[in-house]
């Protein structure tokens, strides 16, 4: 069991990071901490993808001095996926941060429980 973890140490780290991020996003009440959790969660997945795409001793598939055997190169697709994922994660973070600012301006706190109670009191129920 332990050997498997040691051989796949990057994947194990990725899953642990994902778990930390996921629980933070789920259970933290502070909006900023939730967002940090989301970013940790995404980083875990990116680490997983990056480790999929990296094989020691091989190079990026850029042809220099003629095509070598396929075993000389790594698969470039995971790197592309990581880049796409990072773009998505950045834009989601930006939207969430702007939402947090709007909530803070209205309720003067970042704690979701408090905001919820405050919104109940204000009753914009029409």
């Amino acid at each position: 069991m332990l050997e498997h973890l040691l051989v796949n140490n990057e994947e194990a780290a990725a899953v642990i990071l994902f778990g930390i991020g996921f629980t933070m996003l789920l259970f933290q009440q502070n909006l900023i901490k939730k967002l940090i959790g989301m970013n940790i969660m995404d980083s875990g997945i990116f680490l997983f993808l990056a480790s999929l795409g990296y094989i020691e001793g091989r190079k990026a598939p850029i042809i220099e001095g003629g095509v070598k055997q396929t075993s000389a190169y790594i698969n470039p697709v995971p790197a592309g996926l990581v880049l796409t994922g990072i773009v998505v994660s950045v834009s989601v973070t930006a939207v969430m941060l702007s939402l947090s600012i709007r909530l803070y301006k209205r309720y003067h706190t970042l704690d979701l429980d408090e905001i919820y109670i405050l919104s109940r009191h204000q009753m914009e129920d029409r």
Partner: protein, 495 residues
């Protein structure tokens, strides 16, 4: 190559560019432009549907002409075309019927931004429906999440912002899980296109160890997308989210967006995992159980709520439960029932969300059910359309809700044994509960009240789109066989 085969790509690209274009236009022009564009796109989706039904074969559009295992593909079969047509029809009706509320709920300088968001959302919806590549699916699921958050927060109340934040947080949990599932599948198969993935998975699934790992991955994907679509126990964000949004947004979110996630999940089951491999897993039983819990919990919540929008939103939770229960029953009959219910719920729920604000308007702006007394008499159009869709939700014959429940019953009979009893019981209880809260509301809005406000006039931009939705509703109710046959052909094409 026939021009129709490029239409799926056009629906995505046109709406993507229009999203940018709407940023430059004025509010009113943007609205007209969006309406015209949606009409064109609906025509395109209808053409694709006619083409695939006529030829009897699906087609794939390869981007940049890279052959199968490498490139990115769009696939159009009967089911994809049907979903695209449904989504666009409901979209166009919601945009037209709710535009007056968009003008009052949103600051005038920002109206064009709302339509820009709607166009981007159309692009995301179309991509999720048409795509044959699972990672493209993920990217557009995220765009769909962002745009749905956008159309929620355009109404700048504290409660909408809070609802949007909670909606986003749950959606982000779902996206994270979905991405993890996609990456795990990629690490197991080495492909991102659906056919090669299914090919590899079918080979791998013979090994029980790998089948167990696959089950975990399918579980992760299912949890991810069911959080996003609001399956029980993740349905509690619905009332706040749908209840405080501007009517167009509420209709679109509940009728289309949650269905897009379910359709993607179904596509993954059928086309990535392969339905034979999927049926070896215990995932279906859990879906059935959670679906039934959702049906009961949603209906019970709807009975207890005193706000009409929250009631309708919670009944959405119950309807989502139906769809998942259909997937959980399995077999061609179960999947047909689930997909049929996607159609039924989309046309019915959008109509409910579009009529409630008009009823509230003539009742002095209150959404509380007890304040709505007599509003059906003062706004006869809204009252009539609300009652029609309420009757359909209960499952009165002639209307779509009835044929949908009939399909579920038939599917349960084909499965037999204990599941049959469970599903029949759930159907009976939920129909009873549905009848209780919808009939109560219909009676309330048609009871005369001493409050004398002016009668609302007839407005063509409200009546016409709702007539279209009612016509779809009646068509699904009276000619359910046509739709069910289409779905069955689509399932065969799915492979």
């Amino acid at each position: 190559m026939v021009i129709v085969t490029s239409f799926p790509l056009f629906t995505i690209l046109l709406s993507l560019f229009s999203g940018v274009l709407c940023l430059l236009l004025k509010g009113r022009t943007a609205k007209r432009y969006t309406f015209a564009l949606e009409l064109v796109l609906t025509g395109m989706a209808a053409a694709v549907l006619a083409y695939v039904v006529q030829t009897g074969r699906e087609f794939t559009y390869t981007m940049g002409e890279f052959p199968a295992p490498w490139g990115n593909e769009i696939r159009a079969g009967v089911l994809e075309a049907l979903m695209a047509l449904l989504f666009l029809t409901v979209m166009i009706c919601s945009v037209t019927a709710g535009h007056r509320f968009v003008n009052t709920d949103i600051d005038e300088s920002k109206v064009n931004l709302y339509y820009a968001l709607l166009n981007l959302m159309t692009a995301a919806l179309m991509s999720v429906v048409w795509t044959n590549d699972i990672f493209t699916g993920y990217v557009f699921v995220e765009i769909l999440t962002l745009t749905s958050c956008g159309i929620l927060i355009v109404r700048e109340l504290g409660r909408t912002t809070l609802a949007a934040v909670r909606y986003m947080i749950l959606n982000l949990l779902g996206s994270g899980l979905f991405l993890l599932g996609v990456v795990l599948l990629y690490s197991m198969t080495g492909h991102l296109l659906m056919e090669p993935m299914q090919h590899t998975i079918t080979e791998l699934a013979g090994d029980p160890q790998i089948l167990r790992n696959l089950t975990i991955v399918v579980g992760i994907l299912t949890v991810g997308l069911s959080i996003k679509s609001g399956l029980f126990p993740f349905h509690y964000w619905m009332p706040d989210t749908y209840g405080w949004a501007t009517p167009t947004s509420a209709a679109i979110l509940s009728a289309i967006v949650s269905k897009a996630y379910i359709f993607l999940l179904f596509k993954i089951y059928y086309r990535v995992i392969g339905i034979k491999t999927f049926e070896m897993m215990p995932v279906r039983n859990i879906l059935l159980l959670l679906g039934i819990c959702g049906i009961i919990a949603g209906s019970a919540g709807a009975i207890l709520s005193n706000n009409i929008n929250r009631m309708v939103a919670l009944s959405s939770a119950a309807q989502i439960g139906y769809i998942y229960a259909g997937l959980g029953l399995g077999g061609a009959a179960g999947y047909t029932a689930a997909l049929f219910h996607i159609l039924v719920h989309a046309v019915t729920k959008s109509q409910l969300f579009l009529t409630t604000p008009r009823l509230a308007e003539v009742a002095g702006g209150s959404l509380l059910i007890r304040e709505l007394q007599g509003s059906g008499l003062r706004d006869r159009d809204a009252g009539a359309f609300f009652s029609v869709s309420a009757l359909s939700m209960i499952g009165i014959p002639v209307f779509a809700g009835f044929s949908s429940k009939l399909q579920f019953g038939l599917a349960a009979v084909t499965v037999g044994n204990r599941k049959l009893i469970l599903v029949m019981l759930a159907l009976a209880v939920s129909s009873l509960l549905n009848a209780m809260y919808f009939i109560r509301t219909v009676i309330r809005i048609y009871t005369d009240s001493p409050l004398k406000t002016e009668r609302a006039g007839h407005r063509a931009d409200f009546i016409l789109p709702l007539m279209v939705l009612t016509a779809c509703n009646l068509f699904l109710g009276l000619f359910s066989r046509v739709a069910a046959d289409l779905i069955r052909t689509g399932l065969l094409m799915f492979g």
